[in-house]
């Protein structure tokens, strides 16, 4: 009886193993097939990975983060004297600008009243802070600590004090994910301020510049031109600051974004009024 029993156990165990493999492969196939849909399961997995996995990975990678911060602090400390000198010069310069700005602001108010113009076209949805970044070869994404509970939706624009940062591509209850302008997979429709030349910009591979992928009527903007969102694609609100034309070639031009993508702490999620 004993040998027979052993053979039976082996067969059942092998059957279970094969069944597990087949189930995993089938599950994977279904997940890949439905990954782009808004199924409850897919959203649940995304929710768990944002709310549970990211904090765990942050704890595990904390020593690297601490070392990175230490090096950063050391670098800052070394350049303290030099920075102090620059800041003193900047204060003098800014005081002059402040006087000018107050004058311009008064003038602006008067002119707006004369033109009967509205103030701006943006509605602030939420100000959120950065949880972590996924700056990899595949994409340039950041995760924020606010989600659809804070009324953040897909395709809303993310800005900071310097201009357009990116677009919300995914929102879970308490987290949202923003694709940065520097991601090669994101296109934005823009126009140059001085000439009104319409074009499409995408992220360049280097993660520093934005490069034109389409220019209307092949008219190239001038070097130093300021580029803002055109609002034609109806994803980004109109007239958000994007960057400055840094290089012009025969069929394309490069834009240096105003936003410093390495120093993002807080973002404002906005939408058109």
């Amino acid at each position: 009886m004993a040998p027979k029993f052993q053979i039976k156990v082996f067969q059942i165990s092998s059957f279970i193993k094969n069944l597990t493999i087949i189930s995993i492969v089938t599950l994977s196939f279904l997940l890949v097939f439905f990954s782009k849909s808004d199924l409850y399961l897919i959203n649940g997995i995304k929710n768990i990975s944002n709310a549970v996995i990211i904090p765990i990975t942050k704890v595990i990678s904390a020593p690297v983060n601490v070392f990175s911060n230490f090096v950063d602090e050391y670098k800052k400390f070394r350049s303290l004297k030099f920075e102090n000198k620059i800041l003193q010069e900047e204060i003098i310069r800014l005081k002059k600008w402040q006087t000018l700005a107050i004058q311009n602001s008064r003038e602006n108010k008067v002119l707006k009243k004369l033109l009967n113009a509205t103030d701006n076209n943006l509605t602030l949805v939420k100000t959120a802070s950065l949880i972590n970044r996924n700056d990899t070869i595949y994409s340039k994404l950041i995760n924020l600590n606010a989600g659809y509970d804070d009324k953040i939706m897909k395709n809303m624009s993310a800005i900071n004090e310097r201009g357009l940062v990116g677009k919300v591509i995914d929102a879970t209850s308490n987290n949202s994910r923003v694709i940065l302008l520097t991601d090669p997979n994101l296109s934005i429709s823009v126009k140059s301020v001085s000439d009104g030349i319409f074009s499409l910009l995408t992220g360049h591979g280097d993660g520093k510049y934005l490069v034109s992928s389409f220019v209307k009527e092949n008219k190239m903007p001038r070097l130093g031109d300021i580029v803002v969102t055109s609002g034609t694609a109806q994803i980004f609100p109109v007239d958000l600051l994007v960057g400055k034309v840094a290089k012009v070639e025969k069929n394309r031009f490069f834009v240096l974004p105003f936003v410093d993508f390495k120093n993002i702490d807080y973002l404002q999620i906005v939408t058109s009024k």
């Binding site: 193993k17 990975t57 595990i60 970044r133 591509i169």
Partner: protein
């Protein structure tokens, strides 16, 4: 050291998997290559586990890490999940041929597998989700792989005794 005696090589390699995964999905502005290094280390560890410590639980490991990598790096499930599971399935068929090879040949195949895996991941990201194939990033991966491959193999053989 006392604690390490309680862990078998497979557990140690799984701890390396968790650490390398955690670091590779978090970017560090001052050290942009750190997450690339750990991303490659994760692949190296997974291939090593499949080659030398093959077990059915690796299907669950591949499923979990595949989904998490896909969601955290690409926001779409597919690329890593397909690659990791394909590697596991392919290994079952090729195992009998690998056994007959010398250690140097296996190490060469180990490296080739890593490069092919990274190449397939980028190609699949391009095919399935329309992500742009970044040649310079791939060359960067190749260079990092060349640099860290031998020390990693040395470390793994030490862990494996």
């Amino acid at each position: 050291m006392e604690f390490s005696k309680f862990l078998n090589p497979s557990s140690k390699l799984n701890i390396i998997l968790i650490i390398s995964f955690s670091i590779s999905v978090n970017s560090f502005i001052l050290f942009p290559n750190v997450n690339n290094v750990f991303y490659i280390l994760f692949h190296l560890t997974l291939i090593y586990l499949i080659f030398y410590h093959y077990h059915y639980y690796l299907y669950v490991v591949a499923l979990i890490y595949g989904i998490l990598f896909d969601i955290l790096l690409l926001n779409n499930i597919g690329v890593h999940l397909i690659t990791f599971l394909s590697l596991l399935i392919l290994f079952i068929f090729l195992r009998k041929y690998l056994i007959s090879l010398s250690s140097y040949q296996i190490i060469f195949i180990y490296f080739i597998t890593l490069i092919i895996l990274l190449l397939i991941e980028q190609s699949l990201a391009n095919l399935i989700h329309n992500y742009k194939f970044n040649m310079s990033a791939f060359l960067n991966f190749f260079l990092i792989s060349l640099i860290i491959f031998i020390p990693t193999v040395f470390l793994f053989t030490k862990l494996d005794k």
